[in-house]
Subunit: 198 residues, 2 copies
DNA sequence: GATCGATTGGATCGTCAAGTCCAAAATTGT
DNA sequence: ACAATTTTGGACTTGACGATCCAATCGATC
């Protein structure tokens, strides 16, 4: 059983852990650091989570909820090429605001955990699938609305878009400028635009 | 002064460290593990490298030499869309052979180190620039050979290709299949192909 | 073959992180 | 109010990792 107060404490821990892991990576985030950032004691972390791996798993779920839910909401309303470009501007804008630091929280977690934590890898694969499906559904709407021709392959284009997005974020993190992210997204959108019904 | 024998030892350490860091990440690779894998003693690591950060820096240079040099060689000979697709097949084939494990060594290093080691970030940004330039030069050759129209923007398309490549590798690592990598590269090449002179 | 720097082995140190433990305090239900 | 359960504080244990130290050995050069 867990009370409302306990739930709040649990969430405070996950929130602090997510923040620290985004900024310093999973391995670079110690449980003492999480304890201090969340303003709790050591025992509380292990009261709510079996070990650091379980906490990391909760952080993955938390970031997925933040990011993928938001993406689904925005992409669900795409009904024109202009709306797709507006989505692109949103993504680029977020990265610019962060001064290209940190990359994608999910991408970073995946890169760090994929080889050494199979459960985390599977969870992140699922997050990426949801994200890709959201893009695909946006493209399907464009076909249904008569914006794009039916020959366009929404599955393939969505995967390509997600790849360009993740790679663009990774490169912008390394190069500290968003040009690769912009070039990647713009080029995929240009390709999509060629299916436009004129 | 460093003798040939010392040089060989140094290289053995870098090679072992690169291998371990590729499989387990930088933080997941301890100096005792490197010592054992390289068959040297602790003191030798610190005889040839100031600290783990310096060794990591050597690993970045090593991976850059392996990967980017090879990419420059292959991309330097691109003279047709078919050759570009052959390069795509090469990249996808490598990832398939590794069963999509590990992602891109440079991408993984970048994701892990970018925020916490500024020198490593700069070195990796440089590696990515070289890689992007190699792609760009391949595309420029296609224009010069009259395969593509001059309107094609090789800089932008090369950045997009590199983003799709890195993102595709990251997603294939998480999802344990190469479909995102293939979709990403194919979509960018499809876009490039539309600049073909018919 | 003597000299001197380069190389090597391996014990060792200090630090810090993950995780445990137990008792105290707070909260809940009756 | 009281019992049961949850929540909390913080000291503590254990182990590993990065890094150091020093003596021993190797090998090139004169």
């Amino acid at each position: 059983m867990v009370t409302a107060k306990g739930q709040a404490t649990r969430e405070r821990i996950v929130h602090a852990a997510a923040e620290l892991m985004f900024r310093h990576g999973v391995a670079g985030t110690s449980t003492p650091a999480i304890r201090d950032a969340a303003g709790v004691s050591s025992s509380q972390i292990y009261h709510y989570f079996a070990d650091k791996e379980a906490l990391t798993s909760a952080v993955i779920a938390y970031q997925t909820r933040l990011i993928v839910d938001a993406q689904e909401a925005v992409l669900g309303r795409v009904d024109s090429i202009a709306a797709l470009r507006a989505w692109r501007d949103l993504v680029v804008g977020i990265q610019r605001e962060l001064e290209c630091a940190g990359g994608c929280p999910l991408g970073s977690l995946s890169s760090e955990l994929a080889e050494h934590d199979p459960d985390a890898r599977a969870a992140l694969a699922d997050s990426f699938s949801r994200w890709g499906n959201a893009i695909r559904d946006g493209l399907r709407q464009l076909i249904e609305h008569g914006v794009l021709r039916a020959e366009a392959d929404p599955d393939k284009l969505a995967l390509a878009m997600l790849a360009a997005l993740q790679g663009g974020l990774l490169l912008s993190q390394a190069q500290r400028n968003s040009s690769a992210l912009e070039a990647g997204l713009d080029t995929i959108i240009d390709r999509i635009e060629q299916y436009t019904i004129t």
